[in-house]
C-alpha cells in the first residue's frame, strides 16, 4: 500500500509492477480521479480532501491496509513519511514499514539530538550549540565563541519555520524570543538552538542506502542549491562545485552519519558546503527524496526497488566499489504556479499535455488531459529529468525537453525553468543557494523571446480561429433560426464560440 498521492505514488506503483507486487492506492475525496487511483491494482477511500483528514490520518490508513490484506506500507515523501509514531503503529499492527527503524526517525527528527549524534560520530556539523538555548546569557556565550551572524532554529522544526537569522548583536534577544514563540506555536515545543550562519552556502546532499545486515553505501551527491524560499527547484548530479576528493570525504561522512543511527533503507544526508568547500551536516531525511531520479539515472539503481528489498530483509545487491556515476543528470520540478505573478498557485483543469520524449529524457508526473489539479496539495505536478554524457549535454537536452513540454489549462513554471537553463552562471556551474534571489530580475524579465513574428503569429492564429468559428455560427444561423427562437440561437452561438 502506498500511503501517498501524486507523482510519488505513481512512481512507487511502477516499481511494484516491475517486481510483480500488487499495489494498493489510498485516496481522499478530491483524488477519486487521480492517476495513482487509476494505475494501482486496488484503491480505497480514506477521507475528506484536507490532508489532515486523509493522507495524514495514520490510523485510518493502517485500518485500511489491514482490511485489504496489504503486507507493507510505502510512505513516499511528505505526509507521514517522517512520522515516527506512524511507523511504530505500522509495526505494531504487523505491517512492514518501508523506511528505517522508528528510532532513527526520532533521532534525526529532533535537530539537537541529531547534532549531538553526529558530533559523537565525528561528522562535521555547523559550529553552534550542542544543547538547547534557553536564555540571553547562553546566546551571548555562544556568539562569543562562534561570532555573528547566527541562525536560531527550532529543534522540532524544518522547512524554515521557527528560524531567525541574526546579523547584529542588538537583535539577539528579540530574535530568541520570536524564534521560541514561533517554535511553540508551530511545533508545540519552544526548544531552540543556535548555529553559525554559513554565507553563500551550497546545499549538497548524499543519497545513502543500507540493509539490515550492516551494509551501508552512498550513491553520491545531489547538488540542490537552486532554491526559492527553501524549496528546491532544480537539482543535479554530479555537483559542478565539489571536487573528487571532497566527494569522497563527504560520502564517507554520509555513511558514518547513517551508521550512527543504525539506519536501514534509503535516506539522505544534507550538507551545507561553504565557499571554501568546508562541509557541515545539516539534517537527515529519513525517506525517499523528490529528487531521487537523478541518482537513479547516473547510478542505474532503482531506489524504490532497493527500499522494498531492504524492507523484505534482503541484503544490498551491490557494494560501494560497484557504484559509479555515469554522465550527468538534472531534474527540473514543474509546478502548477505562475512564476511571473508571485509564484501564485494555479490549480485547475489540465486541457492539453505534450510530453517531451526521446534520448536521455525521463518524466515522472501524475496529471493527464482532463484531470483537475486539486487545491489541497503540493503544486508540483511533474518532474523532468535529463541525462547527458556531460553536464553541457544534460543542459542542452533539458532545454530541448522544456521546449517540447506543453501543459495548458493551468499556469506552470516551465518557462521560468527554461530561463534558468539559459542563465550564464547556471550554465557555467557557478551558483549557490542565493542564485534565484540574485538573478530574479533577469529570470523575471518579460522581454519577448523569438521576436515580433511569434507575437504576430499568435495574433493571426487567434484571429483565424475566431473568424472560422464565426463563419460556422453564421452558417448555423441560416439553418436554425427558421424554427427556433432567438434566445436558443444565442446559446448555440455562445457554445460554438467556446468549442
Amino acid at each position: 500500500m502506498i500511503a501517498n498521492r501524486g507523482e510519488i505514488a505513481v512512481r512507487v506503483i511502477r516499481s511494484c509492477r516491475e517486481m510483480g507486487i500488487l499495489s494498493v492506492a489510498v485516496y481522499s475525496d478530491s483524488d477519486r480521479r487521480a492517476k495513482h487511483v487509476r494505475y494501482a491494482d486496488e484503491a480505497y477511500h480514506i477521507g475528506p480532501s484536507p490532508s489532515r483528514e486523509s493522507y495524514l490520518n495514520g490510523d485510518k490508513i493502517i485500518e485500511t491496509a489491514l482490511k485489504c490484506g496489504a503486507d507493507a506500507i510505502h510512505p513516499g515523501y511528505g505526509f507521514l513519511s517522517e512520522n515516527a509514531e506512524f511507523a511504530r503503529k505500522c509495526l505494531a499492527a504487523g505491517l512492514i514499514f518501508i523506511g528505517p527503524d522508528p528510532k532513527a526517525i526520532t533521532t534525526m527528527g529532533d535537530k539537537i539530538t541529531a547534532r549531538q549524534t553526529m558530533i559523537a560520530a565525528g561528522v562535521p556539523v555547523v559550529p553552534g550549540t550542542q544543547q538547547k538555548v534557553v536564555d540571553a546569557d547562553a546566546v551571548r556565550k555562544i556568539v562569543g565563541e562562534i561570532g555573528l551572524p547566527i541562525i536560531i532554529k527550532a529543534s522540532a522544526g524544518g522547512g524554515g519555520k521557527g528560524m531567525r537569522l541574526v546579523r547584529k548583536e542588538s537583535d539577539l534577544i528579540s530574535a530568541l524570543k520570536m524564534a521560541q514563540s514561533e517554535a511553540l506555536s508551530s511545533f508545540g515545543d519552544d526548544t531552540v538552538y543556535i548555529e553559525k550562519y554559513v554565507e553563500h552556502p551550497h546545499h549538497i546532499e548524499f543519497q545513502i542506502l543500507a540493509d539490515k545486515f550492516g551494509n551501508t553505501v552512498h550513491l553520491f551527491e545531489r547538488e540542490c542549491s537552486i532554491q526559492r524560499r527553501h524549496q528546491k527547484m532544480i537539482e543535479e548530479t554530479p555537483s559542478p562545485f565539489i571536487t573528487p576528493e571532497l566527494r569522497q570525504q563527504m560520502g564517507e561522512a554520509a555513511v558514518k552519519a547513517a551508521q550512527a543511527v543504525n539506519y536501514f533503507g534509503a535516506g539522505t544526508i544534507e550538507f551545507l558546503v561553504d565557499a571554501n568547500r568546508n562541509f557541515y551536516f545539516l539534517e537527515m531525511n529519513t525517506r525517499l527524496q523528490v529528487e531521487h531520479p537523478i541518482t537513479e539515472r547516473v547510478t542505474g539503481i532503482d531506489l524504490v526497488k532497493e527500499q522494498i528489498r531492504v524492507a523484505s530483509n534482503q541484503p544490498l545487491s551491490f557494494k560501494q566499489e560497484e557504484v559509479f556515476q555515469h554522465g550527468h543528470a538534472i531534474e527540473c520540478r514543474v509546478s502548477a504556479e505562475d512564476p511571473f505573478n508571485g509564484f501564485m498557485p494555479s490549480p485547475g483543469l489540465i486541457r492539453h499535455i505534450s510530453e517531451p520524449n526521446g534520448l536521455g529524457i525521463r518524466t515522472d508526473g501524475y496529471v493527464y488531459e482532463g484531470y483537475e489539479i486539486p487545491i489541497y496539495y503540493d503544486p508540483m505536478i511533474t518532474k523532468l529529468i535529463s541525462w547527458g554524457r556531460t553536464r553541457e549535454e544534460a543542459i542542452t537536452r533539458m532545454k530541448r525537453a522544456l521546449y517540447e513540454y506543453k501543459i495548458t489549462g493551468v499556469k506552470t513554471s516551465i518557462r521560468f525553468l527554461e530561463r534558468i537553463m539559459d542563465n550564464d552562471d547556471f550554465r557555467n556551474g557557478i551558483y549557490n543557494t542565493h542564485f534565484i534571489d540574485e538573478h530574479m530580475d533577469e529570470l523575471m524579465s518579460e522581454a519577448p523571446r523569438g521576436g515580433q513574428i511569434f507575437e504576430d503569429m499568435a495574433v493571426i492564429a487567434t484571429y483565424f480561429d475566431y473568424i472560422t468559428k464565426m463563419e460556422k455560427v453564421a452558417m448555423s444561423d441560416f439553418t436554425v433560426t427558421q424554427s427556433c427562437d432567438n434566445w436558443k440561437t444565442y446559446g448555440l452561438k455562445k457554445n460554438l464560440q467556446r468549442i
Partner: protein, 169 residues
Amino acid sequence: MGYEVRIGDRLASVKLIKRDGQYATIEVDGKQYDIDIAMVENGVYSILHNGRSFNIEIIPGDGPKNYFVNSYVNSHEVEIIDAQSRYMMSRKSADDHSADRIISTPMPGRVVKIPVTEGEPVAKGATVITISAMKMESEYKSPIDGIVKKIHVSEGDNINANQPLIEIE
C-alpha cells in the same frame, strides 16, 4: 473582416486579405503575411510562413473573446475586440471605480479566514480575507478605506477563480 486584437499591452489591427482553404493572407498592423494554416490538434494551429514552422495553441480564457495563447516561446493573453467588446470596455471603464472594490482571486482555493464582518469599517491595506491553495496562504487586502458591504463566502468554503468574495464601499 477586420478586428482589433489586444495581445498583452499591444492593440493590433488585423484583417483577412484573402483565403483559399488552408492558405490565407492576413494583415497585422499593415504587414501582410501569406500563411499556410492548419488546425492539427484541438485548439492547436500549425502555421507555415515563408517556410518557417510555428505552432500556436489557443485556449479559451475567462470571457467569450478572451484567450490564452501559447507560441512555443511565449504565452500571451489575447482578446478579440469587436463592437460588442468596445461597448463593454467603455462600460467597464465607467464602472471601474466600483469594480476595483470587489475582492477576488486569480485561482481557485479555500477560504481560511475572514477577519471582518459585514458593516465593519476597514482601513486601506487591512487584510479582509485569507485564501489557501496548494499549501500556500495568500492574504487579500482592502484597496480603500471603507466599509465591508457584502461578504459572499464563509470560512472553509471552496472558491473558484475570479469569484466575487468581498465587496467594500
